[in-house]
């Protein structure tokens, strides 16, 4: 066997790794397997569960760009989700705009709002920023709850007069599944490109060493805005898809602070600032939620809430780096250890 060249990776840095051929093959296999799932799983309720997983993961991935990579803890992302859902729904219902155009337009509306509110909010740090985002999202919810044109508190129901790919309304779950999968892959790709480009480095600099980054001439506001733009755009796409999947939206379902927290939670549970962390987090979070709901939920006594809360607290206290973060850390430790023993061998 060839000895490892000295230039090869010594200790895998947790971020900025180059993907190897095996990793590419693994991802391709996973993608194909995921795309073929509806052919195997035909039960609508199970497929629906799979869609929920994909959508939760997609929102975690979207949140991760601004909350994980750039380290700006937003607890108001439901505002983007809701604006995306409402824009696509209203455009379709009142103006006959196809969701293929309406959903991206919703993304642009949400991202524009993001940039407008980001301008004053990004001057705030830590707790202040988090609270400002909650306040903004609550104001947006109150606004929609009282806006007659948007259905006010009653909400909006999409008509089921047409069906098919052109209007994104289907009888079967499989089509929604593929759409959700496509959106997730797209979001992951955006995340991947950001992580690998110069943007990724700037975001991490903003997060870890804001003062040093500023002193090196990194315009903090511009890069925070870029992160928020991408994040809010993707979140709103998720909102648009949600509207066409559920065919009904109202302020509590698409604009609540609970939803904002859930997006952040998927990323945190899996590992903030990692590419696949939010994906893992979305899977685990949905499994916990739906699992505890179907086991205990019928009692209406909050057992599902209790379990959910205990897991949140446990992860926050004992695994603050999340599931993926924990694995990466463990592997780095092991590699460092084996490297040390190699050095000892050579020296001995």
């Amino acid at each position: 066997m060839n000895a490892t060249a000295p230039t090869a990776t010594i200790v895998d840095p947790p971020l900025g790794r180059r993907a190897s051929a095996t990793q590419v093959a693994m991802i391709a296999t996973a993608l194909v397997a995921a795309a073929l799932l509806p052919l195997v799983v035909t039960s609508p309720s199970r497929l629906n569960l799979a869609i929920l997983v994909l959508m939760a993961a997609q929102l975690g991935v979207a949140w991760n760009i601004v909350g994980g990579y750039a380290g700006q803890i937003s607890l108001g992302h439901a505002a983007f989700f809701g604006v995306g859902a409402y824009t696509a729904t209203i455009l379709f219902m009142n103006h006959g705009v196809s969701p293929w155009l309406g959903i991206p337009l919703g993304g642009l509306v949400a991202a524009s709002i993001g940039v407008i509110v980001g301008w004053p909010c990004f001057r705030l740090k830590g707790h202040y920023f988090a609270m400002a985002t909650i306040a903004i999202a609550e104001i947006v919810q109150i606004f929609f709850t009282n806006w007659e044109y948007a259905g006010a508190a009653v909400g909006l129901s999409l008509p089921m007069t047409q069906r098919g790919w052109s209007v994104m309304i289907f009888n079967d779950k499989a089509s929604y599944y593929w759409l959700a999968l496509g959106l997730l892959v797209f979001s992951l790709a955006v995340n991947f490109v950001i992580e690998k480009s110069f943007l990724g480095y700037y975001f991490r600099a903003i997060k870890d060493e804001p003062d040093a980054a500023r002193s090196l001439g990194v315009g903090l506001l511009v890069f925070k805005q870029i992160a928020l733009f991408a994040s809010s755009f993707l979140t709103a796409l998720g909102g648009g898809l949600y509207a066409f999947k559920e065919l009904y939206i109202d302020p509590p379902s698409v604009l609540s602070t609970g939803l904002s927290i859930k997006m952040a939670l998927a990323a945190i549970l899996g590992g903030v600032g990692t590419l696949f962390g939010p994906l893992v987090g979305g899977v685990v979070l949905t499994a916990i939620e739906e699992g505890s709901r179907s086991f205990f939920g019928g009692s209406g006594r909050g057992t599902d809430l209790i379990l959910y809360a205990l897991i949140i607290i446990g992860v926050a206290i004992y695994y603050p780096r999340g599931i993926v973060g924990w694995f990466v850390e463990r592997r780095a430790r092991r590699q460092a250890k084996s490297l040390r023993s190699e050095v000892v061998d050579v020296a001995g």
């Binding site: 306040a135 057992t303 809430l305």
Partner: protein, 289 residues
């Protein structure tokens, strides 16, 4: 144009509800000031205070005003124990862990309340403070009036405790410089636990005072937590006097905003004020820069 009577009545009810907001926020600001942790479960402390009053009333027929000292003690013990069991582990953790721990506690306490006491709306009827009070042409509910007075008494007592006693001084020392305080022989763990006990007790008293006129249910804290954040921020994180005045301001903004623009926008107006304040003076009215 509203009449003078209506304006006066609005003014008084704004001040009275503002005093309750102030009391809730003082608990939050003590915890934040001493520990730098934002307690998202603070509204649930208030909810527990309400249930404490309710059950003492329902099971033992004890009047909610008479049981206030007991409710205070129960909530103090609860906050203290919560620190020892859970919060102790996140004192030096990253902000993300802190936010999600207290956020998890919020869901947990709501879930437990639902589990043990059902999601029903409950209320205390026939307490010692029923009826209305008329001063001139102004009508004010007796429970609201008593609650406002009670809030002032407790606020003054807490302020005296912190500024006039040795323990209070130790608490303040820990708030301004943890490490220096430790070098002076102040056990910061004890002070943190005390802050959580005191913070929970303030929310508990506020809950007890509210229980005579506000419905009691597991999610009731949600109505108060956002406002408490606004008040704490407006007054300056960690400032008790600031929280007191900010509470009254927020109460007034809420009722007058509701009167002029519409009651459904009350919270939005308060939040807009909060955002404006954040941009203009993030350290709050009486906070240090």
């Amino acid at each position: 144009m509203p009449t003078t009577d209506i304006l006066l009545q609005t003014l008084l009810s704004g001040i009275l509800i503002g005093l309750i907001y102030a009391l809730v926020a003082i608990g939050l600001t003590i915890i934040f000031g001493v520990m730098d942790v934002v307690n998202f479960s603070h509204g649930e402390f208030l909810m527990l205070g309400m249930y404490s009053s309710f059950w003492l009333f329902a099971l033992f027929a004890l009047d909610p005003i008479l049981t206030l000292p007991l409710t205070t003690m129960i909530l103090f013990a609860f906050g203290y124990a919560l620190y020892r069991l859970v919060i102790r582990r996140i004192t030096d953790a990253p902000m993300l862990s802190q936010i999600f721990t207290t956020f998890g506690l919020m869901i947990l306490l709501r879930g437990l309340a639902q589990f043990f006491w059902k999601p029903d709306f409950r209320s205390i009827t026939h307490s010692s403070v029923e009826g209305t009070l008329s001063i001139g042409g102004i009508q004010i509910g007796m429970p609201q009036f008593v609650a406002g007075i009670g809030a002032i008494v407790v606020t003054v007592a807490v302020h005296q405790f912190i500024t006039r006693t040795k323990t209070g001084a130790a608490l303040e020392a820990t708030a301004s410089d943890r490490d220096a305080a430790r070098l002076m022989g102040i056990d910061s763990q004890k002070m943190f636990a005390l802050a959580w006990g005191l913070g929970a007790a303030c929310a508990g008293v506020a809950g007890g005072l509210l229980s005579t006129f506000f419905p009691i249910f597991p999610e009731v804290g949600a109505n108060f937590i956002l406002i408490a954040f606004v008040v704490v921020n407006l007054g300056g994180f960690g400032s008790i006097a600031g929280a007191f005045w900010a509470g009254i301001i927020v109460g007034l903004v809420e009722v007058f905003g509701g009167l002029l623009i519409g009651p459904q926008y009350k919270l939005a107006i308060v939040l807009a004020l909060f955002l404006a304040m954040l941009m203009w003076r993030p350290q709050g009215l009486l906070g240090k820069a």
